[in-house]
């Protein structure tokens, strides 16, 4: 009797384990190729410091290429390498083109970039808040001569970044006046606005 109930208990355990293993396997398969990464992130098994450094590097690279895009007045050869979403690149190109149509270049010079806050909200969604000091100068596209005086822009910026296949990209950036508080991030971003 004891051996029979022992065997029954083992078979119950096997049935439960089989169900659990199949559930895990199917859930991971449905989640896609980064399922393990997301699991490790959600369980707190991933060190966040390298991710924060990666985010800061991405923002700085984006800024460098942003400056080159505007200051070159329409050199789009390196646009593919810009760590930005296509919708953002389109907006930047649209702006550059609008200046080209007027025969002008709006050159940007960044005098300061201070990282104020890096926040990893989800395994593939993060924000970086900065204080920036930009100097904008309008030039003639043909002669390169200055048109008007420099304009200094002290701004706060919140970069919104997403991770696609292990590479961070700037999805968008929000610009605030230096004396304005940066409001909480809109929930629409997390829902995929």
């Amino acid at each position: 009797m004891g051996r029979e109930s022992g065997k029954t208990g083992i078979y119950h355990l096997i049935a439960v384990c089989a169900g659990v293993i199949l559930a895990f396997a199917l859930a991971m398969d449905l989640a896609g190729e980064r399922a393990l990464y997301h699991m490790r992130f959600n369980l707190g098994m991933i060190d966040r410091e390298p991710i924060k450094e990666d985010l800061i590097r991405t923002v700085k690279q984006f800024d460098r290429m942003y400056v080159a895009l505007f200051t070159s007045g329409g050199e789009y050869a390196n646009l593919n390498d810009m760590p930005a979403a296509n919708s953002l690149k389109r907006r930047l190109v649209q702006d550059v083109n609008s200046w080209i149509l007027k025969g002008r270049i709006l050159s940007h010079d960044r005098h300061a970039l201070n990282i104020r806050k890096v926040e990893i909200i989800k395994s593939d969604f993060a924000t970086v808040e900065t204080d920036e000091n930009w100097v904008l100068l309008l030039r003639s596209r043909e002669t390169g001569k200055r048109l008007g005086s420099q304009k200094q822009n002290l701004i706060k910026v919140r970069y919104i970044l997403t991770d696609k296949g292990g590479v961070w990209n700037v999805l968008d950036f929000e610009v605030y006046a230096p004396d304005s508080p940066v409001p909480p991030l809109s929930k629409a971003w997390m829902r995929g606005k």
């Binding site: 169900g19 989800k122 610009v175």
Partner: protein, 319 residues
């Protein structure tokens, strides 16, 4: 005995699978519960569970099949309700502004499908939001307690019904349910060229509640318009407006409701503002079957329990 192991396997799989998906452990966000509940693996589990129950009743103790009928029927009703829900239920959301009339299902972009079953029959109705009133909590006028709304619903047959509902309770009519959630403001902008001609004008729905909360919108230009709204400020409500062209702050200032501002050879005015809420229309033809199945399961469970108690009590007396 084999049937019992199979039950345990199915229940373990279904419970763990649903929990893993709902927790979002393997993804960066959580899916909507309705997509998990009506997923193919859980459909297959329900089918396997029902099939196993019938097989068990037929082959394990065929003589007692009549006694098992109530439970078999109740499980069949539950399964039917679940499958009907997955195949025929629908849930649609839309943002609606005061005075606005929207048609369901209507053209694309008006109603956003949260879930639409493959064979769902979405009612063709017209909804008009006649009035929208936010109710704040007494201690804090910025904290929203709930929202009250008056709608006029017109059916395809021309029948009209006026309903009042609030964000705490929905309203059920003719097989579907209407509910509302949230509050925001839709200012109407007028974009004018340097010659004063209106180039573009539209309502734009923004998350401007609680008052002072900022949201933004873009038109077909590199400009971004950031706005926050203060309706209770002094004599005249006003907007805080910031217009940004990438890194360049083009305009930053206060604009009264009805007023405007100049920027970059253009001007923008905000002549009026309305409130909006999100309306949701749900329908699930499987609900009556689920309800019936639950009631029958409860009754069958009580009958089974009393029958067993009588049998065990009779056994003791016979001894």
């Amino acid at each position: 005995m084999m049937f019992r192991y199979f039950y345990i396997f199915i229940l373990s799989f279904a419970t763990v699978f649903a929990s893993l998906l709902l927790s979002g452990l393997f993804s960066s966000g959580r899916p909507a519960a309705v997509h998990v509940i009506y997923s193919i693996p859980l459909y297959m589990c329900s089918f396997a569970f029902l099939l196993t129950t019938f097989a068990h009743a037929l082959f394990s103790s065929p003589g007692r099949i009549l006694g098992r009928l109530p439970i078999l029927l109740s499980l069949s009703f539950l399964a039917a309700g679940y499958w009907m829900g997955g195949l025929m239920s629908y849930s649609l959301e839309a943002v609606v502004t005061e005075g606005q009339r929207i048609v369901m299902p209507g053209s694309e972009g008006v109603f956003r499908p949260v879930y639409v079953g493959k064979y769902a029959r979405i009612p063709q109705i017209t909804l008009t939001l006649n009035d929208l009133r936010p109710r704040t909590i007494p201690e804090n006028e910025e904290a929203l307690s709930h929202v009250e709304a008056r709608f006029m619903i017109q059916g395809q047959d021309g029948s009209e019904i006026n309903i009042e509902l609030n964000s705490r309770n929905g309203f059920s009519i003719k097989g579907y349910r209407v509910s509302i959630k949230g509050l925001g403001y839709s200012p109407r902008y007028e974009l004018k060229g340097s010659d004063g001609i209106v180039l573009d004008s539209s309502f734009v729905y923004l998350g401007l509640f609680p008052h002072g909360r900022e949201d933004f919108f873009r038109l077909l230009s590199p400009l971004t318009y950031y706005i926050s709204y203060y309706p209770e400020a002094g004599d005249r409500p006003y907007f805080n407006v910031r217009v940004v062209r990438n890194r360049d702050v083009v305009y930053n200032g206060q604009v009264p409701l009805g007023g405007g501002f100049d920027f970059e050879n253009a001007s923008m005015f905000f002549p009026e503002i309305r409130r909006w809420t999100k309306i949701r229309v749900d329908g699930n033809p499987g609900r009556p079957f689920l309800a019936m199945g639950l009631v029958m399961l409860l009754v069958a469970g009580i009958v089974e329990f009393r029958g067993r108690a009588r049998r065990e009590g009779g056994g003791i007396n016979d001894a």
